[in-house]
Symmetry: C2
Subunit: 454 residues, 2 copies
């Protein structure tokens, strides 16, 4: 595959002003290209894994003083020749350097193209390649550990091993088919059944780990909702312990959905403060309320805020009925408890309400504990195998279903060609997880989600 | 200075999710500290400027797979032993690695501390060290070139050379003072006068370059102002050619000051869209208008927008009188020219108005040309010496004034001790520019403006 050798370039570090930025080049000619724009030692003659100081220039124009790191194939991330240019961390310098490299024969890398090359050149399998993106996007230490475990092998080896055993049976059954009408049985049905049960029991463990894995990887979108002036922005600020949202006495102050993240017990919660729900003639506010409804539909948890200073028990029950209809888990939070009627408080306490005062930061910790108790997870340890990727989860489920069909088929004595078809299907799904079977579409879909430069 | 050896650590690349991030360690023990948290080759035994793959761990816990670059004193940026750890670009991994390094003996670097060490260890003079920050913050190619020229020497050498000549005269005059009442003259007054004139003519060039240098470095804050619904947000969007600001028919839509940058002819303009100026009872809008007034006071240029669809010539003249009072350069921009009275248009054309339609993007290029013509500069070339730093500018001015006092003193025949005092003063100011004379306060002030990790 010759196109893989094309020299590609991208910024590898985050955008922005900083001490240094690193630009990455990969491809057979990458060292030669770097040489064309570099004044310093002759790079092509230097050994791999060495660093060289010099000036980067575009013709007569000096761009920056840089350090160049050399990696010679196959001893680089992509297994190709590769160069890392460490320049001053100025967006304008980065732009100039990339522009110059493009002029001298490189082309811009597409998202995930470095990792895709690493995969295509056999550095790791597809599930491990995907873990590279996960490790970068990890927002909690648990998510980092889960992704690192996956990147270092995770379930890949076990799945590849089980798949090979299954291939063995598949080929025996295909062999039977070659004998057509003759009643031969190369693949012992009992052994096949045992293998399938073994595979399924392993798949079950992985599939069951997904709920936890998903929470660890993606965090929990938590929407703060309620009527205007119930104190939603005040609660957001109290939860985050900073003045994130503008707070005023005026109902309808918040228009855009304001959000921020917070780690509770190793899980990332994305708290969203929303426009208060009411009928309004204010066009901008109405747009805001539409956004609120959208957030509510996507939430994993709603913190529904009741204004206890203004509501009767009946009001509260009516409001609660509306939330129930959303069919999203919610916590009932009574705010302004300091201004509430004592009798009302007593009744609400019996109805599983959490009573807080956002402005006085009263019972905020109790609320946090309650939120967390809904999503209790254990800490991820080194070596724990956890499925965090939706694609892997779906592949595992589909494999499991195909295998179940094989078992049912064997029970009802269907013919070998139907058995073979379901086994092939299972092999296909398993192979897609680790990338032993790939299509251009599948790869494009996976790597397009990477950031550029990875 | 033993404290300089203390191992310091900081993230050197920009914050954020990316392919890789680089953490920088510097100080005598930095390689030994890296060794303690690294599983791979024995780093202390490897040569300088080499790169090593391995795993970073905190006790039993693996944090990430990393590349470690080694720099041995004096061949590093700081001239100390230094280590760069290239890890996956996840904020959580960066945090974990830095935490672990702190545990093993490093401390967090203060802003600019790496560059400060490079200065203290003699890598470059103070003006060059300051250029490191400027090169990072450069927002245009001109600013980058100006900073690079300064970092590579710029006026430093020339100033140091002139200062040495001046020191020579100073010491001769001080010698005269030792002879007290005797009427000796070691320092030839004519030679001294010629030297001072030579220095002053060089200073003059540098001082005069500051206006241009300042515009190149800092860009030009340009505020779009006008009555509500004059089309300010529409103009901002038209200038930027994107939908940056929310636009609606409703007067008072914009509340916060919305800003974005645009490069015109190598100069950075920071365009600010503001809340329309009017009396209002809306509290949030009123806060917005207060911010508008603040922006206007700080602007280098105001684009004042008149709504031609609603205004008579008299209205317009009245409005213009209000702007004049601000005492900030402004351009008169008539908007909604497509809906304006033909007679009004004729009159305004004679009065230096730029007539546009922001919504139809009519005459936007003409407006840009007009803005740019106010700030015409030449392109900065390699080797051009340009003063871009306010501190240097002030130092040069003060030197110049001290030297003028010396000339006046010589003319009026004042005694050697007064001459010596003014010369010493001039030497002091020159020395502060290049850092031959420094105080802790001066250094703290300069390096605290750097980013952490630089």
């Amino acid at each position: 595959m010759n196109f893989v050798d094309e020299p590609i370039v991208a910024l590898a570090t985050a955008q922005g002003i900083s001490a240094i930025a690193v630009i990455r080049l990969s491809g057979k000619d990458s060292i030669a290209i770097a040489q064309r724009v570099f004044r310093g030692k002759e790079l092509t003659k230097q050994p791999s894994h060495t660093i060289h100081f010099g000036t980067l220039h575009d013709g007569e124009k000096n761009i920056d003083e840089v350090l160049i790191s050399l990696f010679k194939e196959p001893n680089s991330f992509t297994k190709e020749n590769a160069v890392e240019i460490s320049c001053h961390g100025s967006p304008i310098i980065v732009k100039e350097i990339i522009k110059t490299l493009l002029k001298h024969g490189a082309r811009l890398a597409t998202p995930g193209e470095f990792t895709k090359r690493a995969f295509l050149n056999g550095r790791f399998d597809l599930a491990q390649a995907e873990a590279v993106a996960d490790i970068i996007n990890a927002e909690t230490d648990n998510a980092r550990q889960a992704a690192l475990n996956q990147m270092r092998g995770g379930f890949s080896k076990e799945i590849q091993h089980l798949r090979e055993e299954l291939i063995h049976f598949a080929s025996l059954i295909e062999l039977e088919l070659d004998f057509g009408e003759e009643d031969v049985e190369f693949a012992k049905r009992d052994d096949l059944r045992n293998l399938i049960l073994k595979i399924q029991s392993y798949l079950k463990v992985l599939i069951n780990s997904f709920d936890q894995g998903n929470v660890i990887k993606n965090g929990i979108p938590t929407v703060i909702a309620g009527k205007p002036n119930a104190g939603k922005s005040t609660l957001l600020n109290a939860l985050l312990n900073e003045e994130k949202a503008i707070v005023s006495e005026i109902p309808g102050t918040t228009r855009d959905v304001i959000e921020d993240e917070m780690i509770l017990g190793g899980i990332s919660f994305r708290f969203m403060d929303t426009a208060g729900l009411r009928e309004t003639v204010d066009i901008v506010e109405a747009l805001g309320i539409e956004r609120t409804r959208e957030s509510l539909r996507k939430a994993s948890l709603i913190l529904y805020l009741f204004d206890l200073s203004k509501s009767s028990l009946e009001d509260i029950h009516n409001e609660e009925n509306e939330i129930k209809e959303l069919n999203v888990p919610y916590l009932k939070v009574g705010n302004k408890v300091d201004k509430a009627d004592a009798e009302l408080i007593q009744k609400l306490e019996r109805e599983d309400f959490i009573l807080i005062s956002a402005s006085q930061k009263k019972n905020i910790q109790q609320l946090k504990d309650k939120i967390l108790s809904r999503f209790q997870i254990d800490q991820v340890k080194q070596g724990d195998v956890l499925v965090t990727n939706l694609r892997h989860y779906q592949g595992l489920k589909q494999t499991d279903e195909s295998l179940s069909r094989v078992l049912v088929g064997m029970g009802s004595g269907i013919t070998g060609d139907f058995l073979a078809m379901d086994i092939r299907q299972a092999l296909h799904y398993l192979g897609e997880i680790t990338g032993q079977i790939t299509t251009d579409d599948l790869l494009a879909n996976i790597f397009s989600k990477f950031c550029i430069g990875k």
